[in-house]
């Protein structure tokens, strides 16, 4: 079954107020084209789940700067002073999680489970008394699953039935989000026929993917960020 979609139609499926996961850690894995189309279409009141807010003027930061995001669930926004300022001014609600906890909350939703028991941060200020569970003589912190209606994913390569392959450090949250969201939208610059991948090399099985947007090419925002090159 072909899952190919136009950029416009794929993003038009997302209503205002939706909860949307977005792949990527820094630039790698960030679905810039899908985000830019969401900026163009203008849906508002979004809750976004993403490791970081990208850097000012890029990727998720554009969506936030454009006032379309009500709440951001993330791990670290230290590279984005503008978003920190919006948070400090009260214009953007931000919820922080330790990075591995965010990954695991998403993966737990992706596994069809509802929460997990951990000891991470259990005696730190990120833990409230109501998060604690006494169970079989031990104390745990309960981390609840974090699902979403939509996920936006960048894949290096894909086939029509939705099998995905990621590249470099761009894997990060993407396979987890593809499992966890009800409707998974993928962009890729390299879409081909089924059979192109060795079955054991597929990172995300096609069953988790709903629509695939082929990109004609990768724009400059997918390239090397000069200020991160060490001289």
């Amino acid at each position: 079954m072909k899952k190919n979609q136009t950029l416009e139609n794929a993003i038009a499926a997302i209503p205002s107020g939706a909860v949307v996961m977005v792949g990527g850690f820094g630039n790698p894995g960030t679905p810039f084209s899908l985000i830019n189309e969401l900026v163009r279409q203008g849906q508002t009141g979004l809750t976004i789940i993403k490791n970081d807010a990208n850097e000012p003027g890029h990727g998720l930061s554009r969506l936030i700067e454009n006032g379309q995001v009500r709440k951001l669930i993330t791990t670290h926004i230290g590279l984005n002073k503008g978003v920190i300022e919006l948070m400090n001014q009260g214009d953007l609600e931000v919820a922080f999680h330790p990075q591995g906890m965010l990954a695991e909350k998403i993966r737990t939703a992706g596994a069809g489970s509802f929460g997990f028991l951990t000891d991470i941060g259990i005696d730190s200020e990120i833990t409230q008394p109501e998060d604690l569970l006494e169970w079989q003589g031990q104390t745990y912190k309960v981390e609840m699953a974090l699902p979403a209606a939509y996920a936006l994913i960048h894949a290096a390569q894909a086939d029509w039935i939705g099998n995905l392959v990621y590249q470099g450090s761009a894997i990060n949250f993407s396979p987890l989000m593809a499992m966890a969201a009800n409707h998974v939208i993928v962009e890729t610059p390299d879409l081909g026929a089924p059979g192109r991948f060795k079955p054991e090399h597929v990172h995300t099985p096609g069953a988790f993917v709903d629509s695939i947007v082929p990109l004609e090419s990768l724009t400059s925002e997918y390239g090397v960020l000069e200020h991160h090159v060490r001289r």
Binding site: G26, Q99, G100, I120
Partner: protein
């Protein structure tokens, strides 16, 4: 040698052959530049890399391959790439041997504060809490005092903790100190400095090894 260079050139000796090491954002990620090209180590980057290596030359730079600080890295032979859940499983299962990490404050019980200055700086916790809580050996790389000359090595941290009693060793620009049940023990000095002068720049009480 600058303070940073003193820290980095001493810190590189903390890495033992055959080990798996995470380098935190800031000074630690720069340690990689001080490693000999054939050194037997696997560098873990929390964003899903085991076997990260030095920055590639511009023509070979891969925009899809960065470390946790956003710097473009290369991969060694035998590297593997994986998702964030596996990356932090590796951390929480204590499969790392060593994490080098920065600090706002560190204290004589080995408590570490490096993620939040209430009212001033709270960009989120990133991977620090899990690294600090679960790595068998944590070495803190830090300047001995802050830019105002105030001690960063304290009797007891005042900022919100990243993790309790997690630090094994502190490498500052002045000295190498171990966290022991008897408090901080100075193992080496990295500059010419008297015991009294080093103690004066340190809030925690220092013991000087014989």
């Amino acid at each position: 040698m600058s303070a940073a260079e003193r820290i980095l050139s001493r810190a590189v000796n903390e890495i033992t052959p055959g080990s798996i090491v995470n380098l935190g954002i800031g000074l630690p990620t720069q340690v990689i530049r001080y490693l000999p090209d054939d050194f037997d180590v696997q560098i873990h980057s929390e964003n899903g890399i085991l076997g990260a290596w030095k920055q590639s030359p511009p023509e070979a730079m891969d925009p899809f391959l960065i470390d946790a600080a956003g710097a473009y890295v290369s991969l060694r032979e035998g590297a593997s790439l994986f998702d964030s859940a596996v990356s932090f499983a590796l951390i929480r299962r204590a499969r790392l041997d060593l994490t080098m990490i920065g600090a706002f404050e560190v204290d004589e019980q080995g408590n570490l504060a490096n993620w939040k200055i209430p009212g001033k700086f709270s960009p989120g916790i990133g991977g620090a809490m899990e690294l600090a809580q679960k790595t068998p050996r944590i070495v803190v790389l830090t300047t001995h005092t802050d830019k105002h000359g105030r001690p960063k090595i304290l009797k007891s941290c005042r900022l919100p903790l990243t993790a309790k009693a997690c630090v094994s060793r502190i490498v500052s620009d002045l000295a190498v100190m171990d966290v022991t049940p008897q408090g901080l023990v100075v193992r080496e000095k990295l500059v010419e400095i008297s015991d009294a002068d080093l103690q004066a720049r340190t809030e925690a009480e220092l013991t000087f090894a014989a």
